[in-house]
């Protein structure tokens, strides 16, 4: 048998440690096959989140570069309402807790609680977005629009991008809720909720950075 044939034969045969329990182990070419020993989908999400660090790093740096360069109109830090933004931050932080509780409930096979926590997370996310829309509208009323100055452009781009990410997360959470209602989110598919959860926690940690670097540090 040639070296290539021998390698192919070995790849077709799962290692002894993966044959127990009568479970069918995915073979090369089948869905679920992994060469890294970890889930491909989860690894994909972590790679995506690693690349998102560069996106938000760029947006935060741009804001820091431009925040003192406004030559006309109010600057963002002249208009911040810290108590209001603190409450918004608290709401988003708590949504991370409800997200992880939804995952834990599904891993236990408690579908009712999974749905309750998924909807609660989506509602907390929607509350955060409502707060952001209110903040944007109040800034525009105060005379700081998107094109008023470079600082305002950088601020709206950064927080707007984050808001879009939260909104996409809400859509994903509601999709999971509908899937669960239709019985298409069994306990064995808890990794789907885990992957959406990773995305949701990521938008939370990005806000942790934005809240400190953009809002609290003058």
């Amino acid at each position: 048998m040639s070296t290539v044939e021998s390698t192919a034969e070995t790849l077709r045969t799962p290692p002894a440690g993966q044959q127990h329990g009568g479970h069918h182990q995915p073979q090369p070419g089948e869905h679920g096959w992994t060469q890294t020993g970890v889930s491909n989908e989860k690894l994909g999400m972590w790679v995506f989140l690693g690349s998102e660090c560069l996106l938000f790093g760029g947006l935060i740096s741009t804001y820091l570069l431009y925040k003192h360069t406004a030559v006309q109109g109010p600057r963002p830090h002249d208009l911040y309402d810290i108590p209001f933004t603190s409450v918004s931050s608290f709401v988003l932080l708590m949504s991370s807790m409800t997200m992880v509780l939804a995952l834990a409930a599904l891993q236990r096979g408690d579908h009712h609680r999974t749905r309750v926590w998924l909807v609660t997370t989506a509602l907390l996310g929607a509350t955060f977005i409502s707060g952001q829309v209110y903040e944007f509208m109040s800034f525009v009323k105060e005379g700081m629009g998107y094109t008023t100055n470079t600082a305002s452009s950088a601020f709206f781009t950064l927080t707007g991008f984050h808001g879009v990410h939260v909104s996409i997360g809400i859509v994903m959470l509601l999709s999971l809720f509908v899937m669960s209602l239709r019985g298409r989110l069994p306990q064995e598919k808890s990794e789907v909720v885990e992957i959406v959860g990773l995305y949701w926690h990521f938008v939370d940690i990005v806000w942790i950075l934005i809240f400190t670097v953009v809002y609290l540090i003058p």
Binding site: G17, V38, L93, M94, M97, V100, T212
Partner: protein
């Protein structure tokens, strides 16, 4: 010519995750740290210690969410490497950019 490797990777097993009560305690801790951040905002202090304290609290919150809510503490090391690589690369690249433009000297 080297022989192609025939060893398949072992499947990494996850460790036990925190219980619901532990998740709630972690969330309470995060809420307290956020409260401390906001309280600091209203304390009259010099810029440097203020910025350093806030940065420490921010890193504590960030790490807590990543380790416990995103399960990076319990999951495969590969995930940790992938995410931390992106994070460290972003920090290095943008610190170089900000230093190049003298952002920290207030001379933009």
């Amino acid at each position: 010519m080297s022989t192609p490797t025939t060893e398949l990777p072992r499947v990494e097993h996850e460790h036990t995750h925190p219980s619901d009560a532990q998740y709630m305690l972690i969330a309470l801790f995060l809420a307290v740290v956020t409260g401390a951040e906001v309280a600091l905002y209203y304390v009259n202090m010099d810029f440097l210690p203020y910025a350093i304290l806030l940065s420490i609290l921010m890193v504590v919150k960030f790490s807590t969410v990543v380790m416990f809510f995103m399960h990076l503490r319990f999951d495969s090391r590969l995930f940790r490497w992938v995410f931390v690589s992106g994070l460290v690369l972003a920090v290095i690249v943008y610190m170089v950019v900000l230093l190049t433009f003298h952002v920290f000297n207030g001379r933009v």
